[in-house]
Symmetry: C2
Subunit: 318 residues, 2 copies
């Protein structure tokens, strides 16, 4: 049986899994990325983890290759470059180094682009040629599919939509120092910042007056909205409004048939989707109105990143 | 000899030309679009114009087809839809109607997308797989090439970058009623509006105090800048700054290797390019810095639109 190893390198966890041609993850595991500050040690640990997974199968698969999703990855150079949440600094030639330990076909890609490829091969994007996948986690990442293909960009850094400036340079700072960058508003972290902003702006009583920024979690903001907390509801509305402006802009770019949304913020359900649909309809150019779908990812949350990474190899084996 | 008929439908002029496989325009002519308010009469005139051009050749060419560039054209439906500067309203099935008069392979596309295809086949884009062509005329249009292909969008309306909102909905109105739309700032018209704004904002003496909006032309603003007119210089700087923010955002989208600029505003030369380069370098994300070229179109100005339209057919005959 043909299988692909999918690896998702995150700031906190590194997830490793075995994925078949239908995008099913047969087995998976993870370890903590930060326990391996040295790249060489880290890659040994990845290989060991893959070997462990393979040992536990009750058959001998034919491994077609290994796909890797990672923040700030250049698909064209096989590198991870200046990733804010990873210990390895500068331009890290991770593919070249990993190939010395394990000689199979390998590809690496920005994690959000890998997620988009996962949707194209295995998820909600299977019937579409034009869509944009957006991951709403700590930051905001995007993978753009147009003409049925993932858009790579000149040297593999397309889709950095979290750093699109929404305010002519006069807004919140992102982690990369972009003023008014989208992810400073639209992401799990952005929502938390907006809860702070709403407390500065309005005098409404709110449960958040008793919760510090560091103790605040997305689920809690959703729950507060459910309970009628005005600050929470205003925070969702504000987030959705800025997101709708961004999606209207993105629509003018590649005119996707759909935005496929995934990541923590999506779990807030109607609190984010309802105002988002309302504002998007309002902000879209006439020519696009009624033609852009808002979808939730069709991938299973826990294995989506692994399957997306594996899609990098499955794409070449169909 | 194989030839393609290229037609550029503009609000003022309709240009018709004969284009060979190297993108050379062998002969061309034009007539005034507005003299034919009825679509049927208009298409008769187009066909008559094509026949005239062919009659004047001293050989009998093999016509491969007819490519058309037009505002608000949907490549997928073969229509022109709600074009602000054309007399025919609603969704106009122009390809279907023209085919009844002349049965050759035909394609239609948004004029700026056709211009991008012209650059890809015949111009500055020949060696590139990822670039964005931007036309800076009365409005701002764009054609996006990624992975070596023109991006069409779900139903053929990709690249409407003139209507990207740069100001979270709090800026100048565009012709389509978009608040803060890019072309309200960055276009020949946008520059004129900025000359008005600068006169509201500053007290500097300026030749523009004696010129009404309707009498103002782009060349004059360039000339004023040459002569040290502070309002003109400030207007260019302001235009370039907003344009640089937009280009930095666009870079985060498909990461083009270059922006290929064309249209009236480009004729202002260093007055627009110098501040544009300065600000772009400032606004680009670190990961893109130094990797994005600003180029002037490689197509001859007078025939660029015709050759772009012809590229729609040449693309399918290579």
């Amino acid at each position: 049986m043909d299988l692909v190893v999918g690896i998702d390198i995150g700031g906190t966890k590194t997830k490793v899994g075995l994925v078949d041609g239908d995008g099913r993850c047969l087995d998976q595991t993870f370890f903590r990325t930060r326990e391996f500050l040295d790249l060489n040690d880290y890659l040994d640990k990845v290989k060991e983890t893959v070997d462990d997974l393979l040992l536990h199968l009750d058959f001998t698969p034919n491994i077609l290759g290994c796909g890797i999703g990672a923040p700030n990855a250049s698909s064209k150079r096989g590198t991870i470059e200046n990733a804010a949440n990873l210990a390895w600094k500068g331009q890290v030639p991770i593919l070249e180094k990993f190939k010395k330990k394990w000689d199979v076909p390998m590809r690496i890609m920005n994690d959000a682009s890998a997620a988009a490829l996962g949707e194209l091969l295995f998820g909600r994007g299977r019937e579409m040629t034009d869509f944009i996948a957006i991951t709403l986690g700590t930051g905001l990442g995007a993978g753009i599919v147009a003409n049925g293909q993932l858009i790579d960009g000149y040297d593999g850094f397309a889709g950095e939509l979290g750093h699109v400036d929404m305010t002519i340079g006069d807004g919140r700072l992102t982690g990369l120092g972009v003023k008014g960058g989208l992810e400073a508003y639209v992401s799990a972290t952005g929502l938390k910042r907006t809860v702070m902003y709403m407390q500065s702006h309005y005098m409404d009583e709110s449960r958040f007056r008793g919760i510090a920024f560091n103790d605040l979690h997305g689920e809690e903001i959703t729950q507060a909205a459910e309970e009628g907390d005005v600050i929470a509801i205003k925070a969702f509305d504000y987030t959705a409004k800025i997101m709708a402006r961004a999606l209207a802009n993105f629509t003018a770019f590649t005119q996707p048939e759909a935005f496929i949304l995934m990541g923590g913020l999506v779990n807030s359900g109607k609190w984010i989707f309802d105002p988002l649909e309302k504002y998007l309809d309002q902000f879209l150019l006439e020519v696009y109105r009624g033609k852009v779908k808002l979808l939730e990812s069709g991938m299973e949350g826990k294995t989506a990143a692994i399957c997306g990474a594996a899609a990098l190899i499955w794409e070449k084996n169909r």
